[in-house]
Symmetry: C2
Subunit: 275 residues, 2 copies
Amino acid sequence: MTTQQLIDQIRIKKSFLTVGLDVDLNKIPKHLLDLEDPIFEFNKAIIDATHDLAVSYKPNTAFYEAYGIKGWLSLQKTINYINENYPDIFTIADAKRGDIGNTSSMYAKAFFEDLNFDSVTVAPYMGKDSVEPFLAFENKHTIMLALTSNEGAFDFQTLNVGGKELYKHVLETSKTWKNSENLMYVVGATKAEYFTEIRKIVPDSFLLVPGVGAQGGSLSEVCKYGMNANVGLLINSSRAIIYASNGTDFAEKAREEALKMQQEMAAILNDIKPN
Amino acid sequence: MTTQQLIDQIRIKKSFLTVGLDVDLNKIPKHLLDLEDPIFEFNKAIIDATHDLAVSYKPNTAFYEAYGIKGWLSLQKTINYINENYPDIFTIADAKRGDIGNTSSMYAKAFFEDLNFDSVTVAPYMGKDSVEPFLAFENKHTIMLALTSNEGAFDFQTLNVGGKELYKHVLETSKTWKNSENLMYVVGATKAEYFTEIRKIVPDSFLLVPGVGAQGGSLSEVCKYGMNANVGLLINSSRAIIYASNGTDFAEKAREEALKMQQEMAAILNDIKPN
C-alpha cells in the first residue's frame, strides 16, 4: 500500500485507528477455546466487526510466537484473511526486528514477502545497515522505534547526547538513510508534549502512536501536537478494544469501543480541516 | 543450563565456540533441496559433525522466519534435536527481541518455554521493563546487544553521552536491573580494542562475540582483551563453518573449520591457564 492510499483511507473512513491484535489465550472469551484455532477465530471476529472503523491492524508477533508453530499459523491466517477480505487495510507486523544487513534482509523477506504485511516495526540500536534492508522494499513501510510508551523509554531514549535526546538523533540520522521516505516512527502517546519537538524533525512522516487508553495517553493531546496536513498519525488501541468484553458479545463490544474512538477521530478531523 | 555448567563445558571441550546456524536455502548444498526439510537436515548434519568442538549453537531466527511456517518448524526441530541428543550444548536463539513488559514476557515464553532455548538475544533500546521479563526465568540467559559488529554500530551505540559512549551506559544501567546476573552481552569482535573498557564495567559476564572470521575480527585479540577467569567468552562463527563447502562433503568441511577454531581456542586456554 502506498502512503497516499493510506491517507485516502483515513479520509474515507474518518479514522486513523489501528487495532492492536495482541491476542492472549488467557484473555479471550472462553467459548472460543474449543475451536481449532481460537486466536484466528478471535481475530476474524474482531476484524469483521471493526474493519470499517479502523484503517489498520497490528498483530504483535510476540503473542503469536509464544504459541509456537500454532501461533505462527494463526498469524499467517490472520494476515491472509485481512489481505483477502479487506485489501484497503494497512497491515502492521509489530515485530521490532533489527539485525546486521543480510539478516535484516531475511526479516524483511519474512514480513514483506512471505507474510505480505504492508509494514513492520524495527528497533534502531544497530543503526543504518540494520534498517536499510527493510527500506529497499517498494510500497512497504518500516516503522522505527523513536520514543516508546513504556517506563523504560527513559533509560536510554532520552539520554542527553550533545544537548539533544538520543531519540532525536535517531530521528535525524534515519532521515539520511537510503529510501528514508519509507520510514514511519513509533512515538508513545504518554509523552504528548514531545510531539511538537518531533514534528520539527519529521514534519511529514507518519507516526504510529501506542499508549492511548490503557497506558494513559490522551487522543486529543496527541492530535493537537502530532497531527500534520496529511493527518500523519496512526493511533493504536489494543486491550481497550479487543478485550472490551470476554463474553460471547466480545466482537460487538469491540465494535462499540472502536466506534467511540472513530467518532472522536472524526470530530478531530472535522475540527482541524486539514488540507 | 546454569552458567557454571556452561563454564564446565568450555573446560571439558577446550572450546568456547558457538556455531551460528544462519541457514539460507540459496547457500546450502543443492543435494539437500530435494529432502522434505532441507534446513533441518543441513543443521542436523552440521551439529552431528561439530557438537564435540562447539559448546553452543545459535540459530538466527530471521533465517527461519523468512520461510514462514516451514521455517519455524525447522527451527523447532533443530532446537529439539539439540536438546534431545546433546543436552550439554548451550543454545542461543538469536532473535534480538524487545518490547513493552507484558509483550516481552510473551517473547520470553516463546523462546524459553515453547522452544526451550537456554538463552535469547535482546535489544536494549526500550530499556529496563523490556528486558526484565526475560531475566525472570531461572537458569535462562538473556544476551543483550551492547556493541555490535556491524558498521551501523557507530550510528548510535558509540554516541557520546556525558563523556561516555552509549553502549557503556547500556552496560552500566543493565547491571542495576532485577536478576541482572542472568545477563550476557553481545560485543562485536571487530572492535577488540573496546574489550578492555567493557571488562571494567562487566568483568564477570559472558560476552557473545560475533564478527570473528568473515567480518574480520581476530580471535587472539578478542581473547587478549576480553577473556576473564571463567573464560567469559562465546565466539560465534557462522558462514566460515557452515558454508565451508557446498558439496556433499559440507559437514566434513564444517568439522575441519570448527576443529581449526577449537584448536586455536585450546591453545589460548592452555596459554593463559585461567583459575
